[in-house]
């Protein structure tokens, strides 16, 4: 089941604002300031594909992931899963949603309970959400471990007995336990050793093919995103500034921020001398984001209206959206 336009997940004008600063009374006095972590993003994820959200720390990509996982309540907006607003669901509906949408986290040292055996870690979602018996759970856990390249006997072990890559496999097995439709991958390889990363990326891509899974990948490493994703959205300060199919985006980046991000990425060969656009300063605080286009203070191609007028999304190329004054029709 998907929505009318064929998307599994649709995000509409999603916002998350955190109240910051001021004392406990500032709320009553009306002096609250807001950190706009996510400030109105829209995106569609087709079933069976991988959507990549990229950006630097503080751009709101992880907050977006948390909202999709229902770990964070949106301030405004809609999350449509199979055409239904996930934020409007009743208790049973929410439970269903949470089984269909699972997560693999960045740090396999922190995301597995050190006091639980692997069978407990991988079997817990089954215990909580299904009526399976202990025996059934045990054999299912064995199957899941085999699926991610581990051995069933390893279910008796504790997380500390595994290497980083193996732990991440356990995390993947857990996320698969309830036959989810969407898995949110939050930096799934960035904490792993380089020689292990390809193993995990290939595993995730194989599982996707086999089970028809849909992925939302949160990452900051552009090459990883290029390898794994079908479509990519680039975020800057809580907003999506550019979105396109993977090859199109890399071959033809339009937004000045996307270009700077790509030029700052490390080369894969010493002879690969790419033009270096080094941005001035850092990402500004989302508490008081710059007026107009959030990027204008650091933008090498800034024009007059950038500091005053918020740019609209345009499509200079089919299915390649960009939010930038340079591409006004």
């Amino acid at each position: 089941m998907t929505s009318e336009n064929g998307s599994l997940l649709q995000i509409r004008n999603l916002k998350k604002h955190f109240a910051v600063g001021g004392g406990m009374f500032s709320g009553f006095m009306g002096t609250k300031t807001w950190l706009k972590a996510v400030d109105g993003i829209n995106l569609d994820i087709e079933p069976g594909t991988t959507y990549g959200l990229v950006g630097e720390s503080g751009c709101g990509k992880s907050t977006t992931a948390k909202m999709v996982l229902m770990l964070e309540e949106p301030t405004e907006g809609e999350i449509l899963f199979e055409g239904q607003d996930a934020l409007d669901l009743d208790k049973d509906g929410r439970k269903n949603y949470k089984s269909s949408v699972q997560a693999v986290f960045q740090d396999p040292w922190a995301s597995l309970n050190p006091r639980m055996r692997v069978e407990g870690i991988v079997g817990e979602p089954l215990e909580v959400n299904t009526t399976m018996t202990k025996g059934e759970i045990k054999s299912k856990v064995g199957e899941l471990l085999e699926e991610v390249g581990l051995q069933p006997y390893q279910s008796r072990l504790y997380p500390h007995e595994f290497s980083g890559g193996q732990r991440q496999r356990i995390g993947v097995a857990r996320s698969l336990a309830l036959n989810p439709k969407l898995i949110v991958l939050d930096e799934p390889v960035s904490a792993l050793d380089v020689s292990i990363r390809a193993q995990i990326m290939n595993l995730l891509m194989d599982l996707q093919k086999e089970h028809g899974l849909t992925y939302l990948l949160i990452a900051h490493h552009l090459a990883t995103v290029r390898y794994m994703c079908d479509k990519i959205g680039v975020m800057y300060l809580g907003r999506l500034v550019e979105e396109a199919q993977t090859d199109e985006l890399f071959d033809n980046p339009l937004h000045p921020y996307t270009r700077a991000l790509m030029s700052a990425a490390l080369p894969s060969h010493p002879d690969d001398d790419r033009e270096e656009i080094i941005l001035q300063g850092e990402v500004p605080s989302p508490v008081n984001p710059p007026s107009g286009c959030h990027f204008h203070e650091r933008c090498p191609s800034v024009i007059d209206e950038c500091s005053t007028v918020e740019p609209e999304k345009t499509f200079p190329i089919d299915e390649h959206g960009v939010v930038c004054h340079l591409y006004k029709d």
Binding site: D193, N202, H220, A223, Y227, A260, S268, P270
Partner: protein
């Protein structure tokens, strides 16, 4: 990148360095016969995964290995002609921070939050150069100007939290070069910085090298950093250097299967790769190393000989050396190999 005139005489020679840790599981040979050298103005990358021994190598060079359990059991570290492993602790204190210095990539944790910038940049100058008063102040301002901190005479009164991340990075850089060291070690933590911040940091290091001629050793797990920054590269695996050579040569024709696998397993931003090569298995446990080649279990080219003994280091030519049995028939054993 590397122009020939930029690179001068040898400033650091590490010969057959061995650093072992005595643990209850046995002796861990964290660094097991590592040799390399570094020239003035040159950048050497030491690449390896966690547990490969790259960080213990630098700690040994700084004589900062926690002891016990760690012991430098053999080898030489010759800094500007002097074997610093023979110095006593008092003499070593004069070397650290002045002739061989370290910069940490993460600017958030590298500075002490309770001292102002002037104190932190000035500390090494006070100790090593004996500067004080107005002269010290002037030199600190100079250093900060060198790393392009705007209004350095005002900003040096700031505390780290008052500076932006980029400026903190610059301050850390200023501390690193304050005493004009011969060797600067840049140790990169495994968790990476944002790309644009990292690009600023790398440019800073390059500028410092251009202005001072310092030799830089980059400790990293990322071949991207090597491609961008380094003239030469040494690849470490399980406590040993398995391959070493000119950066282009290593990228164009890696001779050790581990180097080749690492280069092929990293996704590229420039092109769409269908399927990456993935290295099977995990790095070996260092307390449990056998006689065989430590990469044998993961190597796609493994054959009988690999299981029998650790290969010598072969000279592939043009300064490239690699420790792999498949080179046996074609090339000569490198001179360094005697130390294996």
């Amino acid at each position: 990148m590397a122009s020939e005139e930029r690179i001068g005489e040898i400033v650091l020679e590490v010969k057959d360095l061995q650093t072992y840790f005595v643990t209850r599981w046995g002796v861990v040979k964290a660094v097991d016969g590592v040799s390399f050298n570094l020239r003035k103005g040159e950048t050497l990358g030491i690449v390896g995964e966690s547990g490969s021994g790259k960080s213990v190598t630098t700690l040994s060079m700084m004589r900062l290995v926690p002891s016990p359990p760690g012991h430098i059991v053999g080898g030489e570290v010759i800094l500007e002609g002097e074997n610093i492993l023979e110095l006593n602790e008092k003499e070593m204190e004069k070397v650290r921070g002045s002739r061989i210095a370290m910069v940490l990539q993460d600017p958030m944790t590298a500075l002490n939050p309770v001292f102002d910038i002037e104190d932190q940049v000035g500390e090494a100058l006070k100790i090593h150069e004996g500067l004080k008063g107005g002269g010290l102040k002037e030199t600190v301002v100079d250093m900060l100007r060198k790393v392009r901190i705007p209004a350095p005479d005002v900003r040096m009164k700031d505390y780290p939290h008052q500076l932006s991340g980029g400026m903190r990075q610059r301050v850390v850089g200023a501390i690193g070069i304050s005493c004009n060291p011969a060797v600067l070690i840049a140790d990169e933590p495994t968790t990476s910085l944002d790309a644009t911040i990292q690009a600023q940091y790398l440019r800073l290091l390059r500028e410092l090298q251009e202005s001072t001629g310092v030799g830089i050793i980059f400790i990293t797990h990322d071949f991207g950093i090597v491609a961008k920054m380094c003239d030469r590269v040494a690849v470490m695996y399980a406590g040993k250097i398995v391959e070493q050579g000119d950066v282009r040569q290593i990228f164009n024709s890696p001779q050790h299967p581990y180097t080749e696998a690492l280069i092929n397993s990293v996704p590229k931003m420039e092109e769409n790769v269908d399927r990456l090569y993935s290295i099977p298995g995990n790095p070996p446990a260092l307390w449990d190393l056998k006689q065989e080649c430590s990469f044998a279990d993961r190597c796609p080219y493994v054959f009988d000989k690999c299981r029998e003994s650790y290969p010598p280091t072969y000279d592939v030519g043009e300064g490239q050396i690699a420790a792999c049995w498949k080179l046996e028939e074609n090339v000569e054993v490198a001179e360094l190999a005697e130390t294996q």
